[in-house]
Amino acid sequence: MKTLKYIFAILFLSASFISCSGDDENTPVEVSPVEGLNMIYEIPATDHTVQIYSEKQNLEVGYNEISIRIKDLASDKYVTNAAPSWMPMMHMEMMEHSAPHSMLTNTEESTVYKGHIVFQMPSNDTEYWEMMLNYSINGQQKEETLRISVSQPVDGLKKTQVFMGADDTRYILAYVNPKDPKVAINDLQAVLYKMESMMSFPMVENYKITVDPRMPGMGNHSSPNNEDMTYTSATKMYDGKLSLTMTGYWKINLKLMNSNGETLKGEDVTEANPESSLYFELEF
C-alpha cells in the first residue's frame, strides 16, 4: 500500500514535470522587437518620443544599422504609419556633405523602422554630424534635427573604404557582415555606394568585388572556397563567402570590378604584391 503511494507520487510528479515542459515549449514568449539593441538617442516631444537604436554602443565610422521607433504617448503605442525619412549631414569647417544611407522601412516589424548609414568620417569638436528626420504622426508632418556623435571604431580596424575608382568616380565600400566572424565559411556582406555629389550617394548595383583573405602574420596565408561578392537585389547588398581558417588578424584583400569586368580599384595579391590597396581588416 505504501509502495503504491510512492508510485503514484512519482507518476504524478513526472506527469506534472512533463506537462510543464510541454507548456514551456508552447507558450509564445513576447520578445521585444528591439531586444539586444542599445537605445543611443531619445528625442522627446510633447505627445510622442523618437527612439534611436543601434547594435553598437554609439555610432561609428562605417556601416551602422539603425532602428527607430516612435512612441505615441497618448496611446502608449509605437506608431506604424510614420513613414519616416532621414538625411545624415556632416558639417565641416569649409563644407557640408551627406553620407550613404538606405531608406527607412518597417517591413520586418511594423513598429520598428530600420535602415543603415555609412559614415565616412568621425565627428569632433568643430566638425559634427547631424541627422535630419522627417516623419508624420497623427496626420502631422514633423521634422527633427539631431546632433549625433560618430566615433572611430575602437578596434582601429579598417572596415570602410572611400576611394577614387579608375573611372574617376568616388566610391564608398563598407563592411557589413559577418559581425562575429568564425573559423568557418562566413557569409560576407558589404554595401557599395558612389558619390554623385556632396548630397547624393546612390547605391551601385551589379558590380563585383573579389575576395582574397590573407594573414600577413602567417606569411600571407590564404584560405580556399571564398566567393566573390555580387549584388543581391533583395538585400541591396553585395554578398559573398569568406573562409577563415583560424582566429587572428585577417586582411581581406578586395578588388572592385564594374559590370564590364574592368577593375576600378584594388590589385591581385601575388608574391611581389602582398596586399591590395582595397581591403577590409578583421580580428577575432
Binding site: 573559423v183 573562409s243 587572428g248
Partner: protein, 679 residues
C-alpha cells in the same frame, strides 16, 4: 590465447602471385634472417616474436643490449624498421607501412598517440622494463589486434602469472657514452599460486648524441620514466582477475628532425581483466579485459632559435575499450574467437603567437575532437593436417568517426562544405595461410584481404605540418576505405645446424591513402612549400622479399644473416616514400660458460628508388659494425650480469631512408649494463 606460442618463422612472405614470386625469387634475395630458432612443429604462424625482457630469469645473455630502448628492440626484429625523428619515440613500420596501416596494441589494448605529427607512436609509452615480448604478425596475420593493412604488433606485458617464485627483485643500470644516457631500473615481484604482484620502474636520461665524426646532433636529448604495476588474484582454481597500471612520462624530448620538441608526453594506461580456464565447457582460456588510457602530448618550440612564429600544440587522446576472447579445440580444429571494441577521443589544437603582439592569438583545431567507435569480431581456425596446417581467419568490424567539436567541424567545412559530422564504415578482413612440410622443407603461403579506415589525421587533420616533405596536410573526411589484397610465400630449408629461408610478400593496396599536392591551396606554416590533401590513389603496390639464414658453427658459435629487398610504387609507377633500399645484417654470436659475445654488421645499399615529391633524396649506402660482450656471475643465489658493447665501431656518419630529414644516426657508442637480481 593466441597462437603465437611458437616462435617463428619467416616473416614476411610473399605474396604476389606465385608468378611474381618465382620471377623475382630467381634473382632477388628474399627473406629476413635473424637468430630466431624455429620451432616448426607448430606450423603456421607467420609471426615473429621479439623477446624483450626475460623478467626474473634475467635471460639477458640472449640479448646483445639488454637495457636498450624498446625502439632498439623492435628494430632488431626482422620485420620492423623504425622511422626516426630523433633519438626517442621512433615510429615502427612493417612491410614498409607505418602507424596508420598497422594495428599496434599494448597487451591487447588499443592506444592512439596524441600527437598530430606522429611524435608519439604508442610504442613510446611503454618501456622494456614492463614488457615481455612483442608479437608480430605480418599483413592480415596481425588482424587479431585490429584492422590493419601492413600487420599487427602486440606488446605483451611482463607478468608473473601465478608462478610460485615468491619474492624476487632486480636492479639494473646502464650507461652509454655517446649521449651520456643513464638508465636506472628496478623491479620487485611477489608471486605465488594465489596472488602475484609486479612493480617496476625505469628512468632514462640522455643528452644530445653525436653522429659519426663527433658531429653533435642538437635537440636529440630526452628524459623519460615509466612505472608499471601488475597484479593478479585467483578467485578459484580456474578463475582469476588481474589488473595493470602503467604511468609513463617523457619530458624535454628533442626532435632534431622536426621544428619542435616535446615538453611533455604522458600516458596513463590501466586495465582490469578476468580470466577463466573454461567457458561453457567447450571453450578454454577465456579472457576478458576492460581498459582505459589517456595521453597528453605537448609540443614545445621555446628552446629553438629563430622560430618564425612561436606556437603551442597540445594534443590529447583517450581510449576506452574491451575485449573478450576464448579458444575452442575440436579435433583438428583450433578455433580462436575474439570480440573487441574501443572508443577513442582525439583532440589537438594549435595556438600561434603573432610577432605583432597587438594582434589576437591565432588558434585552430588540428584534430577536431574526433570520436572513433570500433566494434569488431575476429575468428580464426587452425587446422592441423598431417605434415601440414591451414589457418583461416576473419575480422568484421563496425567503425565510425564523428567530429564532436563544432569549431572543428566548421573548420573542415571550409574545405568540405557538404561533409557529414559522422562517417561510418564496415571493415572486413580475411586470410588463409597454409603450411606444408616436405622432408626438410617448410613451405608457407597465404592469401588475404584486409581493410582499414583512414586515421584521424588522414580523415580530419587540419593543417598538419610534415617537415619531411615540407608540406601542410589536410585530411579528407570523405576518403574511401583503404583495402589490400596480399599474398605471401616462403620456403625454409631446415637442418638442426643449418637453416635458410626465402620469403616474399606482395600487397596490392586499393584506395591507397597518401598526401597529394593541391596547388590551389595556400600554406599555413611559414616556409612550407605547399599543401597536400590526403587522397585515395587508385592503388599502390608493395613488394618485400628476404633471404635469411642461420648456421650453428659449433655449440658456442652461431652465425645468422639476412638480406631484404623492398619496393613500393603508386598507380603511376612513381616510388612511394619511406621504402627501404636493399638492406642486410649479419651477426656472429658466441655463448659459453655464462660468457657471451657478438659481432654484428648492419647495412643497406644505396636508395635508388626514392621520391623527391615526398621530400626524399637518395640515401647513400652504409654499413656499421657492432660488438658486445657479457658475463653472468652467480653470487650465492643471486645473479649478477654484466654486459658491455660498442655500436658503430668505425664511427660511420650515415643516415638511412628512415631518418626523417636525413638526420645522421649515432656514431660510435659504448654501452655498459649491470643487472643484479635477487631470487
Amino acid at each position: 590465447m593466441k597462437a603465437f606460442i611458437s616462435v617463428f618463422p619467416l616473416k614476411g612472405m610473399l605474396m604476389g602471385s606465385l608468378l611474381c614470386t618465382m620471377f623475382c625469387g630467381s634473382f632477388m634475395a628474399q627473406l629476413y634472417a635473424q637468430e630466431t630458432p624455429v620451432d616448426s612443429l607448430k606450423l603456421i604462424h607467420l609471426n615473429e616474436v621479439v623477446i624483450i625482457s626475460a623478467g626474473q630469469q634475467l635471460d639477458h645473455q640472449k640479448q646483445r643490449k639488454p637495457l636498450s630502448t624498446l625502439d632498439e628492440f623492435l628494430e632488431s626484429s626482422r620485420s620492423i624498421k623504425m622511422v626516426k625523428r630523433g633519438a626517442y619515440a621512433w615510429e615502427p613500420t612493417m612491410n614498409d607501412m607505418a602507424s596508420e596501416r598497422l594495428a599496434i596494441t599494448i597487451d591487447g589494448m588499443q592506444i592512439f598517440g596524441a600527437c598530430t605529427d606522429k611524435m608519439d607512436p604508442i610504442t613510446s609509452y611503454v618501456d622494456v622494463s614492463n614488457l615481455s615480448e612483442a608479437e608480430i604478425g605480418s599483413g592480415q596475420q596481425g588482424a587479431a589486434y585490429g584492422n590493419t593493412i601492413g600487420g599487427g604488433i602486440n606488446l605483451k606485458l611482463d607478468k608473473s602469472n601465478f608462478k610460485p617464485t615468491g619474492w624476487t627483485g632486480a636492479l639494473e643500470s646502464a650507461f652509454e657514452t655517446n649521449n651520456a644516457m643513464r638508465v636506472f631500473g628496478g623491479e620487485l615481484n611477489y608471486s605465488d599460486e594465489k596472488f602475484y604482484f609486479n612493480l617496476d620502474g625505469i628512468y632514462r636520461k640522455a643528452d644530445n648524441y653525436k653522429a659519426g665524426g663527433d658531429e653533435e646532433v642538437n635537440f636529440s636529448q630526452f628524459e623519460k620514466y615509466n612505472f608499471s604495476m601488475n597484479s593478479g588474484y585467483k578467485l578459484a582454481e580456474d578463475k582469476s582477475i588481474s589488473a595493470t597500471l602503467i604511468y609513463d612520462e617523457a619530458n624535454d624530448v628533442g626532435y632534431p628532425a622536426l621544428t619542435m620538441d616535446v615538453s611533455l608526453a604522458r600516458a596513463v594506461i590501466g586495465s582490469v581483466s578476468f580470466n577463466k580456464d573454461t567457458l561453457f565447457g567447450n571453450f578454454s582460456n577465456w579472457e576478458s579485459k576492460v581498459y582505459f588510457n589517456t595521453i597528453k602530448h605537448v609540443m614545445d618550440d621555446t628552446k629553438r632559435p629563430n622560430v618564425p612564429i612561436h606556437m603551442d600544440m597540445p594534443g590529447w587522446s583517450e581510449t576506452a575499450g574491451f575485449y573478450t576472447q576464448a579458444n575452442l579445440n575440436k579435433e583438428k580444429h583450433h578455433f580462436f574467437f575474439k570480440w573487441d571494441g574501443f572508443y577513442n577521443k582525439s583532440y589537438a589544437e594549435m595556438t600561434m603567437y603573432p610577432t605583432n603582439s597587438n594582434e589576437p592569438l591565432m588558434f585552430m583545431l588540428t584534430w577536431p575532437d574526433v570520436r572513433t567507435k570500433d566494434v569488431g569480431f575476429y575468428a580464426e581456425d587452425h587446422l592441423s593436417l598431417e605434415k601440414a596446417s591451414l589457418k583461416l581467419s576473419a575480422r568484421l568490424a563496425y567503425h565510425s568517426n564523428t567530429v564532436a567539436d563544432d569549431f572543428g567541424l566548421n573548420s573542415l567545412k571550409i574545405f568540405y562544405p557538404e561533409m557529414d559530422k559522422t562517417n561510418t564504415r564496415f571493415l572486413k578482413s580475411f586470410s588463409a595461410q597454409y603450411h606444408q612440410m616436405l622432408n626438410n622443407f617448410h613451405i608457407h603461403g597465404g592469401l588475404s584481404y584486409g581493410e582499414r579506415a583512414p586515421s584521424v589525421s588522414e580523415g580530419y587533420g587540419f593543417y598538419l605540418f610534415n617537415s619531411f616533405d615540407n608540406h601542410d596536410y589536410i585530411g579528407d573526411p570523405d576518403l574511401n576505405t583503404e583495402s589490400s589484397a596480399d599474398a605471401n610465400l616462403s620456403v625454409t630449408y631446415k637442418k638442426p645446424i643449418f637453416e635458410i629461408t626465402a620469403g616474399a610478400n606482395y600487397f596490392h593496396v586499393f584506395n591507397y591513402i597518401i598526401g597529394v599536392v593541391d596547388p590551389t591551396l595556400s600554406t599555413m606554416t611559414i616556409g612550407a612549400q605547399g599543401v597536400k590533401i590526403y587522397t585515395n590513389l587508385d592503388y599502390a603496390q608493395l613488394f618485400n622479399a628476404s633471404l635469411s639464414g642461420r648456421y650453428s658453427i659449433s655449440n658456442a658459435f652461431k652465425l645468422t644473416g639476412s638480406v631484404s629487398y623492398h619496393r613500393g610504387v603508386d598507380d603511376t609507377g612513381e616510388n612511394l616514400p619511406l621504402i627501404s633500399p636493399l638492406s642486410y645484417r649479419s651477426a656472429l654470436d658466441f655463448y659459453k660458460n655464462q660468457f657471451s659475445a657478438s659481432l654484428s654488421i648492419d647495412g643497406a645499399g644505396e636508395q635508388t628508388n626514392f621520391n623527391p615529391d615526398y621530400g626524399e633524396n637518395k640515401s647513400a649506402a652504409y654499413a656499421t659494425l657492432s660488438a658486445s660482450f657479457g658475463k653472468r656471475f652467480f653470487l650465492k643465489e643471486n645473479d649478477l650480469f654484466l654486459k658491455a658493447g660498442v655500436e658503430n665501431i668505425l664511427d660511420t656518419n650515415y643516415s638511412t631512408y628512415t631518418d626523417w630529414n636525413n638526420i645522421p644516426r649515432m656514431g660510435r657508442n659504448f654501452y655498459f649494463t649491470v643487472s643484479y637480481s635477487i631470487n
